[in-house]
């Protein structure tokens, strides 16, 4: 299985290659990608250099152009596609149907991966992308169990990529407007979720409050682990009680399931976190490279040393092992 690693900066890209990445995904420093965060991402020149470096070292570069083009400004996204193809990207990770259509027509030889933001959660939806745009790989939404992934793999004509570590969307990816409800900025339109520009931390006697667009998202005691100030991982109140209504602050770690994912026919394993630092990329990629080598050698993988990197200092195997079915 290929190991697909995040890079928000050229330095992180180099760290990922050094740590054993087979491929690195990254995006341009604008609204065309879903990690459009301050100080992050690649200029055209940086991408070109990153691709040259990766190819010299035998790694691939996948360019995420996975927001939904703004009406009346589609050419911004077309340019991103053209420039990524021109720079020698090994694949484009796309979410918008119109942009896939453009790419398939304009660059028929370019490899298209269906972004997790496209939320292709079943064989029919995946087959639609394969038949219509010639998509070669689908990044599966984080809502499927390992047996479901196995069933999907058997039915479809393309490769599958699944997340094995990092942040978890609690809602179906690419189909969530919670962020823009509070801030006017959304993953689909602006490439940001719960954007830093709208986050405020306040130190109070009860602890640290995180607020987003004026709404209190959470309050942490002084020694209580924290998570991102994302809406779906906040503490809220209903008439039934107060707490984590959607999900606790927690990160995915599927180290223990790598064998099952391989047997399910998964082609590639993806690490979330283009917004993270070099230290994260280096440690997490090295861990999974080791785990994959152990898997190939029939050894037990080392126990994860990755909890310090996780939200709420807690990990989960997420939907891969569903407790409701």
């Amino acid at each position: 299985m290929e190991l697909i690693c995040p890079a928000g900066t050229p330095s992180a890209l180099k760290s990922a290659i050094d740590a054993g990445a087979d491929a690195i995904y990254c995006g341009f420093n604008d609204e065309t990608n879903a990690r459009n965060f301050p100080g992050l991402n690649f200029s055209r020149a940086e991408l070109r250099q990153g691709i040259e470096l990766a190819h010299r070292r035998g790694a691939k570069i996948l360019v995420a152009i996975n927001t939904f083009p703004r009406a009346g400004a589609i050419e911004v996204w077309h340019r991103a596609v053209d420039d990524a193809v021109d720079a020698g990207a090994d694949a484009l990770i796309l979410a918008d149907i119109g942009l896939m259509d453009y790419t398939a027509r304009r660059h028929p030889d370019q490899r298209i991966h269906v972004s997790v933001q496209a939320a292709a959660a079943n064989p029919d939806a995946i087959a639609f992308y394969v038949e219509t745009f010639g998509a070669k790989r689908v990044v599966l939404p984080r809502v499927l169990s390992v047996p479901e992934i196995a069933a999907i793999s058997r039915e479809i004509e393309c490769e599958t990529e699944v997340f094995v570590f990092g942040g978890l969307c609690v809602m179906a990816e690419g189909r969530c407007s919670l962020s823009s409800y509070a801030t006017a900025k959304s993953p689909n339109m602006n490439g940001v979720c719960s954007p830093a520009s709208h986050v405020a931390y306040e130190q109070t006697r009860e602890g640290t409050s995180s607020r987003l667009g004026g709404f209190t998202i959470n309050r942490f005691g002084a020694n209580e682990p924290a998570g991102y100030p994302t809406l779906c991982k906040g503490r809220f109140a209903t008439e039934l009680g107060t707490g984590y209504i959607f999900e606790d602050p927690v990160s995915l770690d599927a180290t223990a399931l790598l064998g099952g994912l391989r047997d399910a026919g998964v082609t590639a394993l993806k690490i979330e976190g283009r917004q993270r630092g070099r230290a994260y990329v280096e440690s997490v990629v090295r861990h999974f490279r080791g785990a994959l080598e152990a898997l190939d050698a029939g050894r037990e993988a080392d126990i994860a040393r990755l909890t310090p990197f996780t939200e709420g200092q807690t990990t989960t195997v997420g939907a891969y092992r569903k407790t409701w079915r």
Binding site: A71, F128, S177, T216, A237, E239
Partner: protein, 294 residues
Amino acid sequence: MQLSLGPVLYNWSPERWRDFYFRIADEAAVDVVTVGEVVCSKRAPFFEPELPAVIERLKRAGKQVQLGSLILVSLPRERRHLDDLIRTSDVMIEVNDLTGLRSINGRAHAVGPFVNIYNEASAAFHADRGAKRICLPPELPLRSVATIAAALPQVTFEVFAFGRTPLAISARCYHARAHKLAKDNCQFVCDKDPDGLALKTLDQQDFLTVNGVQTLSYTCANLLRDIGALKQNAVGALRLSPQDCDMVAVAGIFRDVLDGKEEPEGGSRRLAALYPNVPFSNGFLHGQPGFSYH
């Protein structure tokens, strides 16, 4: 401009659901009605026995009837169900997920607000494959709505104009979670909240509404003030999403404002009396936070 009634998103009792549509058929000033369970496939069997009579009554009343498909399709039985629906239905299907597009295979259909159409190119893609009506995602600002509608005059575009705004869909059920139940054994607890389960922040600010696997706004969309701009920009229909209030009266208010018999402010005052204690919002259309009202 048409008025279009969206599907009931909440878990109402089958009798109440049927009677609601009977009354809509007999009394409501709406042109198009979309029926069907789109939120949770587990609820669907309760409504299916009532569906033929509801569709028949709506059709007889001269309404254009559409059948909405499930927002998030993942289980094999959900795929089979969708496939059957598309192949056998004699009313137009409103797809809420791309899963159905292969079976639709170019036939006339509608596209619901849960499909990501953010620009004129993806709208054109759907139109080329048989989409006659498209209800745009509620998140879209007016500028995008206008650009898309102008590019495809052959398609009727709808915008989400009344009701709590759908914001997210999940594979997990937050109603079951709130009641400390597993999704598989949910006991259909979402039926306790015919208008959704209200969610507040830790500082007691009203924020969101939980409806099983779906999350909606706490605020109620109200685009009465924007009707002029929407008309000017070739929007063909306003979608009214059923809430636990007199939807016949809601439709009447929108009709009055559309026909110029009532000013938007007077209409909004009447709406507020019909659906009290829930603040209005139209922020998305203005490119502002969705909860805000301009």
